[in-house]
């Protein structure tokens, strides 16, 4: 035994890094794959305890805006001060306040196809169809209308969202995106200019740092959920 030890000491060799290298080489692609190269953020939403699920039992105050947006396959129904607003110019008279851009597009089938494709594992094809359906909604007119309300009710920030049961979550999120902040202009005539616009900002005192910070101006930044029945 003693002799064997001496032999081993005699063979001075470099540290054998091969097993470690193997480990590192396997770990790196594994971790690279698991990384999502996307920034995840959140949207804050309140829902009163017990659920505001059923429509308010409170009496609707005439002075209050009580804004609500209902998403359907044919467009947005907007109600303020307790009444559903009539369709805007260019939309069919018996329909939503803001109709979809292309009335001929069968939204229901499109969304259904998107869902089926995603379930079948074809995320890309599903997303294409969903995106096509989402882009058919007229968010620009929605924004224009919301800024109009904001001018009359500058202190209101609440908006109630409801939707038909098959409306995808992505549309709800996009409506919240559009209604969250004021853009540079109060109304837009062009889709490209509307989407390219940056948020209007104001200086606001930040309690944590004790300094003035630039913050986007809130339009209707407090969404709540309700059921459309």
């Amino acid at each position: 035994m003693a002799r064997k030890k001496r032999d081993e000491i005699g063979q001075t060799e470099d540290l054998d890094l091969a097993p470690f290298m193997n480990l590192v080489i396997i770990l790196i692609p594994l971790l690279l794959l698991s990384i999502v190269f996307m920034e995840v953020a959140i949207i804050q939403v309140q829902m009163p305890l017990g659920g505001s699920a059923t429509t308010d039992s409170e009496e609707i105050d005439e002075e209050k805006l009580d804004l609500s947006i209902t998403m359907s396959n044919s467009g947005f129904y907007i109600s303020a001060s307790g009444a559903i607003l009539p369709p805007i110019e260019g939309c069919p008279t018996e329909g939503p306040t803001i109709c979809v851009k292309d009335q001929g597009l069968d939204m229901e089938t499109l969304l259904d196809e998107a869902r089926q494709r995603m379930l079948a594992g074809n995320l890309e094809a599903g997303e294409d169809r969903m995106e096509q359906a989402l882009l058919n909604y007229n968010f620009r007119e929605l924004y224009n209308m919301l800024t109009g309300f904001k001018a009359d009710f500058p202190d209101e920030e609440a908006v109630r969202l409801s939707a038909d049961s098959d409306i995808p979550f992505a549309l709800t999120v996009r409506v919240m995106d559009v209604s969250r902040f004021m853009l540079e202009e109060e109304s837009y005539d062009d889709d490209e200019a509307f989407w390219a616009a940056t948020f209007q900002t104001e200086m606001d005192y930040d309690e944590e740092t004790g300094r003035d910070v630039e913050r986007p101006v809130v339009l209707f930044g407090s969404p709540a959920f309700a059921v459309h029945q």
Partner: protein, 204 residues
């Protein structure tokens, strides 16, 4: 190798001598070979710098892996895109994927074709998902205990990680069930993007 192993097994002196001689000869041969090859240094690739890079990458990747508070992408889950800027925090989560509902990454109930089986649903307007209510109540109890031990105020926060195609009806059922478990402050997980990309202009 086999020779060495055997030598420990107890050989006679003669055999050991022979093994030693064999080794010496082998070493000689090796030396001659390397001399012929023209210098020792060119023989092996120097992987030291590569190793350095690898180790740094490994540390960086491990760090970013541990930091991510929300998993927004999975085989059957992709949260919608939005231009919201609020950063996520670590808190209780409920995930609504295309095939199941999970609370804190633990399976609760299956989702089939965007709906929960009607046998699991009860309540006014069919909004309560029974198995979800049970597991949320348990999770709330546990998180209350945790905050009590830590001496913090418990807040009714929950992060909702819902797939982009989730039906509004299912989302409402999940939210309603959460309010029944005393959770009222929801944070929807989203993937950050620009307004242009949302409007179909410009790249992703």
């Amino acid at each position: 190798m086999t020779e060495e192993n055997q030598s420990t097994g107890g050989f006679g002196k003669e055999e050991e001598e022979w093994i030693k001689a064999q080794r010496a000869r082998e070493a000689e041969r090796q030396k001659r070979k390397s001399r012929k090859g023209g210098g020792d240094d060119t023989g092996a690739v120097n992987i030291n710098s590569l190793m350095d890079i690898m180790v740094i990458m490994l540390v960086f990747l491990l760090k970013s892996y541990g930091e991510e508070p929300i998993r927004a992408m999975d085989e059957d889950l992709k949260v919608p895109r939005s231009n919201s800027l609020v950063t996520p925090e670590d808190m209780m989560t409920v995930s609504v994927t295309r095939t199941e509902i999970l609370v804190n990454d633990r399976w609760v109930v299956d989702v089939r074709d965007g709906e929960v089986d009607p046998s699991h649903i009860s309540g006014d307007g069919d909004l309560r998902i029974e198995p979800l209510l049970d597991s949320l109540t348990t999770a709330v109890e546990r998180s209350r205990e945790e905050s009590e031990i830590l001496g913090e105020d418990w807040e009714p926060h929950i992060t909702v990680i819902a797939d982009q195609i989730t039906r509004h009806r299912l989302l409402l059922q999940v939210l309603f069930t959460a309010t029944e478990a005393e959770l009222s402050d929801f944070r929807f997980a989203i993937i950050q993007t620009t307004s242009e990309a949302l409007g179909g202009f410009g790249g992703d």
